[in-house]
Subunit: 406 residues, 2 copies
């Protein structure tokens, strides 16, 4: 398998600009038409993980029930319960490879998404330029559009081991556009790729040289597969004072239904984030905050099992997708996403495949996937799946996707 | 007791403007100095209700546990679980005196605050004028400041039965300022006042005549005391198509720790709100949404008990506060707030009393209250308390406030 270049050469600068220009409303229209399209009764939803296939750790419900019985944590500080922050700060420090001051550098947010919105609202003003990998988590660009920011794209490449890199030319071009902020998910959503450590170092160098603030969404940083080396961007020299790292239990631990995440960053940024959270929803749900009490605590064995379970599904799904003629896919090095490219479905007779049409065809066959356009211009011809699913249902989804694309 | 005029005449137009101009940072500085001020170890916090004194109805935890056991509602639509919306729409219709389409006119939000933020973010742009009663819930003005909106103040009067009215002159002046939107809490936060039906009708007339959108935060509309008549603004003729009504179980039902609220409004506004919620935190917490399953369902008896319990505490607290020399207070007609005025504390030698100093003195005596400035210019010399507390602690707080102000 050859390296998969994520920006198809057919998307030149002019079409990129067109894409960006029409991103707002037209993307919502595409979303709506996909949502409205008919589907067979037993639609398999691969747009997110199945919390019944991979259930939350038992500590989550137990911690919630304790908090409810204690009945003292309904009204916490806007940045989250102070006793909880004191409790999890050392654990977060171990995870992120740095120290974390629970009072000044840590905020509990309404999900990792709530942290993302808070940090961008706090730091980004209309007209600001923000560097963003292509492809990236679709909500990143939508929040930036809501704030009136201008996106500077960093096209990324993914090799056949799922590792990501950003070419020196693309980095230099992004630098020349003089962004104020660098925003990225790592592992990358939608590819599941993990960045080469040399790329992470190059991003840190850019951030220090250009005095950028960096926001890194590490929601999936605990689900890394064998053979991949994961570098925490915020732990590199010179980065603690300029990096906001977002993490949370929504994905690896299947705890999305509680809506809690955490952000670690410089004290003034945490303070500004707290102000946004207080306006947007006061605080993360008081009782739900407490499900973090035992999150990521002494769970190495549990995490090994969970990672192995997902790695097996990853390998299975890569094999099934690659067996479809015209489809290529890089195995993700982390997360439960993959981002296959459909080179030539039978019904695409004019030019490259359209990822909206592809998602519509797959839905007609009984599987809901996230169409590539949601993730940036490089999503052309691609779709994202979340393979954190029941194995039988995932195999059934693979069959349906095969029939839709063959 | 004479009617309490909420805008002290000493606050002329020029000082109002100065107040508004310095509202942003200086208010945060005042907040910080109050938060940092030392307090005795057993501080009694009257800035919010005590969920141990008035506990949530038993259905809440039971519904949450069911949702967790079912494990199907972690990922709902951004506007909330569709089965839940179908279930609660008729009940909401009964409550609000109108019909509610569960698919098009209803959104479950991350608390009522999440609904407030979503609707204002969806509708208000920088420079828009928004009419707002004075005094009002402090977060209303902070969200508007965040959005760059210009506040048009509607000074309100409260009589000694706790009923609120807005004078014809003040209404005409607000109309002349040509606002785009009218935003109010009802019952009013911080006074606990309920608007006279003639004032509600005048607000509706203004909205229809001037083609305004109206956002009414009815978080406390189920906690109305004997003798008060409550009019739902959104149920008046011509109002359904222009009113967004926010409600939720956070206050009357003490369920703030779950962070769920609901908003009912015109379909295009609900759609725009959903987009904001999706950016700000994806959705209200999936499992927590389900605590609404039995919310406000066949609970007339429970509500009568809860209201009577609060009414007794209201009467007690009004009596205690009125026994302090120089303090006047109108008994709230609804909610668990009251907003006493300190006319002549011993340290107020020049002009009206300073509500920041008052709150600092009360804190030094062992009670945390919300200082008047947070609620608008008419808060000068006032403080807000939430009397949804354990009776003994409330009496102890009254003693401490008495010693601070005597």
């Amino acid at each position: 398998v050859s390296p998969t270049f994520l920006s198809p050469p057919s998307l030149d600068a002019a079409s990129l600009n067109r894409y960006v220009k029409t991103y707002g409303a037209s993307v919502l229209e595409l979303d709506r038409s996909l949502a409205a399209a008919p589907a067979p009764p037993d639609l398999i939803d691969l747009t997110h993980g199945d919390t019944r296939a991979f259930t939350p750790p038992a500590t989550a419900a137990a911690d919630f029930h304790s908090a409810l019985a204690e009945n003292t944590e309904a009204y916490t500080a806007y940045r989250g319960s102070s006793s909880l922050r004191a409790r999890i700060a050392p654990r977060l420090g171990d995870l992120l490879g740095r120290t974390v001051d629970p009072d000044r550098e840590l905020i509990v947010t309404p999900g990792t998404q709530g942290g993302l919105f808070a940090v961008l609202s706090a730091l980004v003003s209309s007209g600001d330029r923000v560097a963003l990998p292509d492809p990236e988590y679709f909500m990143n660009e939508r929040i930036l559009a809501y704030l009136g920011a201008v996106v500077v794209r960093l096209p990324i490449e993914q090799d056949d081991k799922g590792l990501l890199s950003i070419g020196a030319d693309n980095l230099a071009a992004a630098r020349a556009a003089r962004p104020r902020l660098l925003l990225l998910s790592h592992p990358n959503n939608p590819t599941g790729g993990v960045y080469e450590s040399s790329t992470i170092q190059a991003l840190a160098d850019m951030a220090v040289d250009e005095d950028l603030i960096v926001v890194v969404d590490q929601l999936y940083c605990r689900l890394i597969y064998a053979g991949a080396q994961y570098t925490h961007l915020g732990a590199l020299p010179g980065m603690i004072e300029r990096t906001v790292t977002l993490v949370g239990p929504s994905k690896t631990e299947s705890m999305s239904g509680y809506r809690v995440g955490v952000a670690v960053g410089p004290p003034p940024v945490v303070e500004a984030m707290e102000r946004v959270v207080s306006l947007a929803s006061l605080r993360a749900p008081g009782y739900c905050q407490q499900v973090l009490r035992h999150w990521a605590e002494d769970d190495a064995e549990w995490l090994t099992r969970r990672t192995a379970g997902h790695q097996a599904l990853r390998d299975l799904m890569v094999e099934r997708l690659r067996s479809i003629s015209g489809v290529s896919v890089a195995p993700p090095a982390g997360s439960s996403y993959m981002f296959p490219l459909v080179g030539s479905p039978r019904w695409a007779t004019n030019g490259p495949a359209d990822d909206h049409e592809i998602a519509m065809a797959i839905k007609a066959a009984g599987v809901l996937v996230s169409p590539g356009y949601q993730f940036g211009p490089s999503g052309r011809g691609r779709f994202r799946i979340n393979f954190s699913q029941d194995k039988k249902r995932l195999l059934s989804a693979a069959e349906r996707i095969t029939s839709a694309l063959s």
